[in-house]
């Protein structure tokens, strides 16, 4: 008796179950808004959107509900890429395709992974900072939670790139558990010990931007880009606040993690999957490439580096959200 209320929002389209990973971050809330807009503008038939509060067990429970209420495709963003494995197996046994947003599950079949490459974020940040500092000096890296796959990818790529391309730069890694106050405390200690700190890499602007700016402001270290004593800062996410900070010269760059594209292509692939379409590896029509994974396909969306030069680009999602 599955699917009994799957036609709730009608139009005979296949039902899509969507789970949000969390509701307490700017980035994911923007993603949620795009999802809502896109779904209603395209007249998609979505089941009630659930929220797994960053807890994989809740995610699994929610997916089970989708299964039982007749989802023909599921969109999820498993922040724990391991513990979703058996759920993916179950879904594939029931022939329900899965679109995984932002993360690439370690095991289990996925129809499509929609994400920008986190390793590329780390590398881009490294290259930008290295160039800014001229290949020498000290850089503090505000890491995420050590148990987060995205955080780890960024850290690893950043470290590897620094080692390879800018051996003259010393990286000070600060684990923050994605907490702004912890980041601020550790950055403050680091500044006390290393007054000559030349750059900061923040792995999540949504969490670290304000605390870092407030700290630098208080210490009188917030000098606009170009002035002597300026600390070069690269952020990650591409939320509007970061763009404001770039315009003011408080920070130098950010990597725009495309919340809009995440939402758009998640829905597109989910709809396609439910309709039984298939995709092949190769270039796409939206400046990205689909690559083959052992357990499915991945559409690697572009994640542009945003600097003062392109911060006003209308196509950046951070310039269109929320207002």
């Amino acid at each position: 008796n599955r699917g009994s209320d799957s036609t709730a929002s009608g139009s005979g389209k296949p039902a899509i179950g969507i789970d949000l990973p969390r509701a307490d971050s700017d980035f994911w809330n923007s993603y949620a808004q795009y999802l809502k807009q896109d779904a209603s503008s395209q007249g998609l038939n979505t089941l009630p959107v659930s929220n797994s509060q960053n807890d994989v067990t809740k995610l699994v429970a929610n997916v089970q509900v989708f299964q039982n209420t007749g989802a023909k495709a599921v969109v999820m963003a498993p922040q724990d890429t391991g513990a979703i494995a058996s759920t993916l197996d179950q879904l594939s046994a029931k022939k329900i395709p899965v679109v995984s947003v932002d993360t690439r599950p370690d095991k289990g079949d996925v129809y499509m992974v929609v994400r920008a490459d986190n390793k590329a974020y780390g590398t881009k940040a490294c290259e930008f900072l290295g160039a800014q500092l001229g290949g020498k000096g000290k850089v503090a890296e505000l890491q995420g939670a050590l148990s987060s796959i995205n955080g780890r990818d960024r850290s690893e790529a950043f470290a590897a790139c620094m080692k390879e391309k800018f051996p003259g730069i010393q990286v000070i890694e600060l684990a923050t558990d994605w907490k702004g106050d912890v980041a601020s405390a550790k950055l403050q200690s680091t500044l006390a010990a290393n007054p000559d700190l030349g750059g900061v890499y923040m792995q999540a602007g949504g969490v670290f931007l304000q605390p870092t700016l407030a700290l630098l402001q208080q210490k009188g270290l917030l000098k606009p880009a170009g002035q002597p004593g300026h600390i070069a800062i690269v952020s990650n996410d591409g939320i509007p606040q970061e763009f404001d900070a770039i315009r003011k010269g408080d920070i130098d760059a950010t990597i725009s993690q495309p919340a809009d594209l995440y939402a758009k292509y998640a829905l597109l692939y989910a709809q396609a999957a439910a309709e039984g379409k298939t995709f092949q590896p190769g270039a796409t029509d939206h400046q990205s490439t689909i690559i083959q994974l052992p357990n499915g396909l991945e559409d690697q969306l572009p994640a542009p580096l945003v600097t003062k030069d392109n911060v006003d680009d209308k196509s950046l999602w951070g310039n269109s959200v929320g207002k």
Partner: protein, 343 residues
Amino acid sequence: MSPTTEVRESSATAVHAPAGRRFELARYRDLSLVPVLLVLGVIGFIVSPAFLTSDNLLGVGQQATELSVLVLAEALILIAGRMDLSLESTIGVAPVIAVWLVLPDHGARFNGLGLFPAWTAIPLCLAVGALIGAINGFLILKLRLNGFIVTLGALTLLRGLQVAVSQGQSIVNVPTSFRYLGSASWLGVPAAIWICALLFLAAGSALAWLRHGRALYAIGGNAEAARAAGIRVDRITWIVLILGGLLAAFAGILYTGHYGSISADQGNGWIFQVFAATVIGGVSLNGGRGTLFGALTGVLTLQLVVNVMTLAGVPPLWNQFLNGAIIIIALIISRFASGEKQE
């Protein structure tokens, strides 16, 4: 602001008839969440026809298994008058250490030490859990440290240990034996549900009908008196703490099988839910009161709430708020259904 004391009101009434009635009420204390469960069932039925399908209910059941094993452990410990916050980390660190000892030291994303053959993963995991319980017991019972803070420290330390050993990764390549229990189905019902039911039945019977089970109530109710009655208080308490660690490790095995990997933050933040489930289920934080059946209804309540909210399509932003509200409402219902103050 009650000006008048309510001390020993009952001692004023020396009669036994009211005592008898009080007792009847007290027996139903364990059932005080049953009406809540019924209401949730009715709401679930109304919001979605999918609610009452065996698929859905078995799903809820399986999702509840790991939490309920932790709740079983915590309930035993609370009945004996102690607390263990570190269970939420044991569920993660015990599997990680076991697998690390067992997995070969090369060739995979996560490499272990390869010290033991693969089939020892489960016994090793249980042993690690027991060891953690034993160390907590040592600190609490021998060094006489405050149990709440010791196990709070242990919670942080063990989570840290897990991060350090697993380097923050989820471990996917676990031995198949380790994964079996959490993923198998017996007679169309997840094995984990059978096992959980069995564990609750066994522990519940022991608490109800065995001397050593009854001893937990005596120890939690008045440790001095229990000692005077010849009960080996420290030894039994220690055993309960070890058993708690062991059960938490076992929950870790179920979790691993259920979700297909040892996740890096397996159990993170669960201790709040464990306490909430146990206490709204009628187990006293001061020891000596409560039953496992009550604790089980507590888990099911929390789990059904999540299920019903998802089925009802509660706006994601209001999820957490409702979760908290429901804990408080369940507490109020359980307080008035049992008619007892909870202090």
